[in-house]
Symmetry: C2
Subunit: 341 residues, 2 copies
């Protein structure tokens, strides 16, 4: 035969069973109130009995849009992203939107694929939470007519909404705090994403150290993101012979990894060496010693992102703005006065 006739379930089957037209079924399922109550319940019964589930693809296609919020993150494992994700998810659900997430794992082909997926899905809005992105790809997204907000995308762009944290400020504050405790030999531990914001952070670190005390020593170490990466970076640090009295880490996860390694090598924290992080994830409070870190308000960031994508009322779509969030230093037990060396 020319055309396959599917045996699949669809509106027509339900309509037939309920003895009404397709359109009526559609109207019932979408809660349009122009349907007589008796018809309505008949339709619902039929749908129920047939175990019918509307095809969302067909629906999106017919409507010309979907009720889906897309989220792209580079590392699901990082609780920092997870917190933003959760906020976005709950905001979305409260507006009746479903959520789909794509994880890029810091791989750029995967980022491209995720962007394709989201555009292909014609998502109602898109949050891009990856710290680096090629100019070209940014423009692809921006040109897609999908309301989008970026978090901390590397280079500032003209016509996109970008929310970012002022890491410079956080680093400066942390360095000057450590400096005030007498530290004069400090290390910075970052991860391998060296482009964009990260490299700015390194630079800021070095500058801050020298500004606080021109004679101070500063060095940079790096490993993959995560606990293990922190550990690895710490090992490198130890092997390098550089003996900092304070280690400033780019995030809490790495900081915990660093602490673990240092302690295993017999160093005491904060007696022998102070350690700080960024983010203030739950673990920062639960590890031991508890971690001095820079709090970054993830919930607030999540809400801001959402409002900028799909916020009702507010001046959304006000493309091209940049929103800057300040971190706040939270002092705990992993930092103390510098040892004399």
């Amino acid at each position: 035969m020319r055309k396959r006739r599917t045996l699949a379930m669809n509106l027509d089957v339900v309509a037939q069973k309920a003895g009404v037209s397709t359109s009526t079924v559609s109207r019932v399922l979408n809660n349009l109130e122009i349907v007589k109550t008796s018809t309505r319940s008949r339709v619902l019964k039929a749908a129920e009995e047939l175990n019918y589930h509307p095809n969302l693809h067909a629906r999106s296609l017919a409507r010309g849009k979907s009720r889906i919020l897309g989220i792209i993150v580079s590392n699901m494992e990082n609780p920092f992203f997870l917190d933003i994700y959760r906020t976005l998810e709950s905001d979305a659900h409260s507006q009746g939107l479903e959520v789909v997430v794509a994880n890029t794992d810091y791989r750029s082909e995967q980022l491209v694929a995720s962007v394709q997926l989201m555009i292909g899905l014609r998502v109602a809005g898109l949050a891009v939470i990856v710290s680096e992105m090629e100019e070209h790809l940014i423009q692809t997204v921006a040109g897609s007519r999908i309301p989008v907000a970026f978090y901390d995308v590397g280079t500032p762009q003209k016509n996109i909404t970008n929310i970012r944290v002022d890491y410079r400020k956080g680093i400066k504050k942390t360095v000057s705090y450590l400096s005030s405790l007498g530290h004069r030999r400090m290390a910075f531990v970052g991860h391998h994403s060296t482009l964009g914001p990260i490299s700015e952070r390194r630079k800021t670190f070095l500058e801050s150290v020298h500004r606080c005390s021109p004679s101070a020593d500063a060095r940079i170490f790096a490993g993959p993101d995560g606990l293990e990466g922190g550990r690895q970076a710490a090992r490198e640090l130890l092997e390098s012979g550089f003996r900092p009295t304070a280690v400033l880490c780019v995030n809490d996860f790495m900081a915990v990894g660093v602490m673990r390694e240092l302690r295993e090598e017999g160093l005491q924290i904060p007696r022998d060496v102070s350690v700080t992080g960024f983010d203030n994830i739950k673990l920062a409070e639960f590890c031991s010693p508890s971690l001095t870190t820079n709090h970054i308000p993830r919930e607030q960031i999540g809400h801001i992102i959402f409002d900028n994508i799909l916020g009702n009322g507010r001046e959304q779509h006000d493309t091209g703005r940049e929103i800057v969030i300040d971190p706040e230093l939270v002092v705990r037990d992993s930092t103390g006065v510098a040892v004399k060396s």
Copy 2:
């Protein structure tokens, strides 16, 4: 006018620009090799210039299926789920499938919504990784013609594929290990999901303790899942006046929370009290003291789930089977011989 004419981008626009028919464009974009090379490149150029992205909804609709693997998990934050997720994701990508995740946050309305979403999306396969699910909902999924595998769904069902971990075995082994260290007063810390497998775990715990030593004391405590929940359960434990020499926790996260609280109350681990967990997440190795726990092979589980959903070649769709994985005790520094009391 009767029908709106959209200004959206679609195959026809590309076709026009390239001077070919829609079908040809479609064939080019799908890499069907029956297209002349010169035509092909002309089409690709047009698509590129127009910044065209195929509408996946239309595609899925026309094809009658999507290239999406759906994953439903109850708690993204738990690294245990995250590890399974990552394995599934990488397996999926290696087969050219995209992935969408839905997080239920242990809430049953959210589970229902997620299932609706996945069925509505006509996903190519579905992994359901939530520890509890209503019989009714399970049957909805099973009846949806979508290849599906469940992980650790509460009650064993006849016609579904279920992968589960034999927690009974793990608990027994752990209890007998602790017993061999002289522990006679033990607590079990679970989380509030008290239905299904969890309650079985409690029961197993109590039985095991009494089997190892009929005179032993055993009590159950609980809190919400997670670090904070563990802490909370530990606080309850301390307030109860029950002074166990060993605490067996339902997962590592809770165990770390428990340790933290106990230590803050001045107890030393393992000198005053031993603590064990389940899962063997990264953190178990990085916390201090490092945690004795039951290793559960998440990667292996992920692969098994995937193979059972979309595995090629193997006897997939062999509905109704149950696959059981055994945990393995990993002894670290959080357990030791019992103190005399």
